[in-house]
Symmetry: C2
Subunit: 524 residues, 2 copies
Amino acid sequence: MMASTFESHDPRSGEVIGRYSDAEDATIDAACAAAAQVGDALASAAVRVALLRTAAERLRAAADELHAVCERETGLSRGRLEGELERTCVQLELFADVVADGSYVEAMIDTADPDAPVAPRPDIRRMLVPLGPVAVFGASNFPYAFSVAGGDTASALAAGCPVVVKGHPSHPGTSELVAAELYAAAEQTGLPAGTFGLVHGASSHVGERLVCAPEIEAVGFTGSIAGGRALYDIAATRPNPIPVYAEMGSVNPLIVTDGALRARPEQIAEGLVVSATGGTGQFCTKPGVVLLPAGDAGDAFVEDLVGRLAAVSAGPLLNERILRALRSALSELERDGDVRQLSRADVAGGDGGGYLQAPVAFEVQAAAVARRPELLEERFGPFVLLVRYGSEDEAASVLNALGGQLTATLHAQPDEVSALNRLVALMGRKAGRVIFDGFPTGVAVTHAMQHGGPYPSSSSPLHTSVGSTAIRRFLRPVAWQNAPAALLPEALRDENPLGIWRWVNGELSRDPLPTSDAARRTAS
Amino acid sequence: MMASTFESHDPRSGEVIGRYSDAEDATIDAACAAAAQVGDALASAAVRVALLRTAAERLRAAADELHAVCERETGLSRGRLEGELERTCVQLELFADVVADGSYVEAMIDTADPDAPVAPRPDIRRMLVPLGPVAVFGASNFPYAFSVAGGDTASALAAGCPVVVKGHPSHPGTSELVAAELYAAAEQTGLPAGTFGLVHGASSHVGERLVCAPEIEAVGFTGSIAGGRALYDIAATRPNPIPVYAEMGSVNPLIVTDGALRARPEQIAEGLVVSATGGTGQFCTKPGVVLLPAGDAGDAFVEDLVGRLAAVSAGPLLNERILRALRSALSELERDGDVRQLSRADVAGGDGGGYLQAPVAFEVQAAAVARRPELLEERFGPFVLLVRYGSEDEAASVLNALGGQLTATLHAQPDEVSALNRLVALMGRKAGRVIFDGFPTGVAVTHAMQHGGPYPSSSSPLHTSVGSTAIRRFLRPVAWQNAPAALLPEALRDENPLGIWRWVNGELSRDPLPTSDAARRTAS
């Protein structure tokens, strides 16, 4: 039988700080049933805006209480947690803005056309509507921004979908506190209890039960490839398969050209160290594979980089499982004849009581990587693989050996850029976000952000889990044909009462329908 | 071992009219490899517009030759085929218009903001790019519009994705002729041969090989639930799963209120007979389940309807498999104690040499259907199940017993409509298109059309296979961060050289970027 309880730990010391129980089947089922009962309570845009804004307000007000628990459960610094909570609130507010604007429903109206080619055309009006209850899986590495009230929850609620979260077992206390603020925000907004639910689960059974619940219409997940793929496989074998939006692993290749290396080696090294070791290297967008030119300038850069990494103190990994996985991956690399070890892999923080890990770098030649793509696998934590390349073709072969990526980054000088079209195009084929002269960590919460990419960086290359368009994952189109005005959703009525952008007969407009078209509809 | 050859038949007589071979593995692999080699040849919008328009022109010019073969292979009437070919050409041209307009790439630009909350924000520009080679499975029931040059192919090519079609074995000769026009159109447009490919396959192995090909990035399918689900399952178990857009079964419930039945019984009966028996009842949107009020008016309507159906001549089903499946389903119903037989199920056309079938109706009470939802399963062909309901609650219970649907239709009088909000909302939850006082067949090719719905009517409720937005299925977002102008796609450049609609810092605009923003980007 599976374990029904689990412990939370302080990753800085390994100390047990709480005991929790996996949700029982009846509890999971009840949360899903309650979500399905919410029905049209979330239909009002004004109510959803209020819910999202109230949640942000409440989370900000609860910051001290949250950080005290979260710091112990995650080992993340107070400064980092403050930034992440604010980011989480900004994210809730961004989706409130998206809902308030209203154009996200992608309204399209084609008025009746008795003279259309092939056959007379009826009045057709289309918009996006909520999919239904969504299961969200919290991530360990962002206890606020990709967890209970994170981007998946915010975008699903914004879409009008009730949410059942499975909290990550690494921070159950934080999950409960955040959930309490969401419950309170729903109550304050007059929404039913099923609007939001939290279940705990350290065993895979809880997640499986949730994904199989007949009421659940979609799944949001951030975590490992193995975890995301397992949920994808479960959802795909349901009697009615449902979409799984899993944001999974990525090594986020970063390419430095010879020109950039010579022009600004210190700036690049400094940025790289911050990006690769921030949050103890546990960001989805950590640059885990860095392509550096062969030769003297590259050698000097590597030496400098290794020195800078050695100067970074060991930091806590989020849980023991992550520590063990990284140590095991590193000891494999230590024994690998193709790989040169640049740092000691077992350097911990000192007393050794917690899950501490110092930054680690290894080096390999591009030719070896092209031959053995498994060397490029993600190693979650403060680890960087430096890949030395001799030509643009070799750099391209390394990119080609990679699976889909969340990001790909290029550091190049302005005079080199025009010759790099081919490499940049390849980066766009491999990744969801292509970055120039910057670093992939620090995913801006903004409209145009793309956080997702070809498999295995995510399970659905068509979508993003950060940015305004994340709401699309939880919406489906419905068309109304020759509908009486009284039965049309407001977004599709002649007079455009919401003042939203709509495609009307192939033209984008915020205007009410011309009277002639409106009349034609009524007459048809 | 599997059969490697198959025959095509004239469904009006059963006569063998051609012998074809399943594509060999090497042929399938070569088609996929050629598709992957197309690369940026499809990147130019102008080239894609020319390809789509040329294909439409060529198909129109080849009409007589096409119809002669297609009529024999499908048994569909010349008039129907003429309409369907024109619809297919209009569809190619619609997507050419979408590409020419250019706004379908959903460009979004967020300029750099050093004062953004949480952290300074880089310049982020996002747009949709092609997914890569697409496998399309032709349907038996629309030899032009949902086959080799049908909506899936048109929207995939419009998106910039090369296409490999598996032709439907019911009309291989038609498939080859249509493919020849697509090959010629590609050649005429200067595109490589891999832009489009056709493979034959009557065995499931061909489809499986195609869906598993590593070069294929998405699948479009129209056909049965069993067929679509099989492809979905295969794609989901690939090392890298890919999206399958399968448009599958639907019984398209049509509800007639007591008011509508009394006000316009003949008009409804006449429309229903045309919609249920057109193309020998083999449309995806055939109204297969019709909800009629209990009582005298309903009884009289049923009697009239049965008489009208009996007056419709038997028509050819597309192949022997469809005939056998329908006959087997009908003989099960004949033996069912809950179902009342209104027409003889075995009425064929006369000499019995072909796959002819006359229209058939059965009747059942709503209470029985709610108890035994399997009675509502799709029976492909000229079959209608009349469900008699006593109250709105009973009608709702029938809808609730159904899986996801392509369409749901309501015939009601204006004075009834305001009381039917709940039923109409339920129709929107169950179906992708909600129709008022009309009939579901005759899917208009227009921007706002939605042809797809919750499972099992389609495998992806987020998408449509008809209408402009069908292009979305084959596109994925990419964001460029702080990209030098020279490396940005045209759609994302400051000056907006394509003149497309873009979301710039949260506002929709066709203007070039304000100089201040452009300058900020350059400075960042």
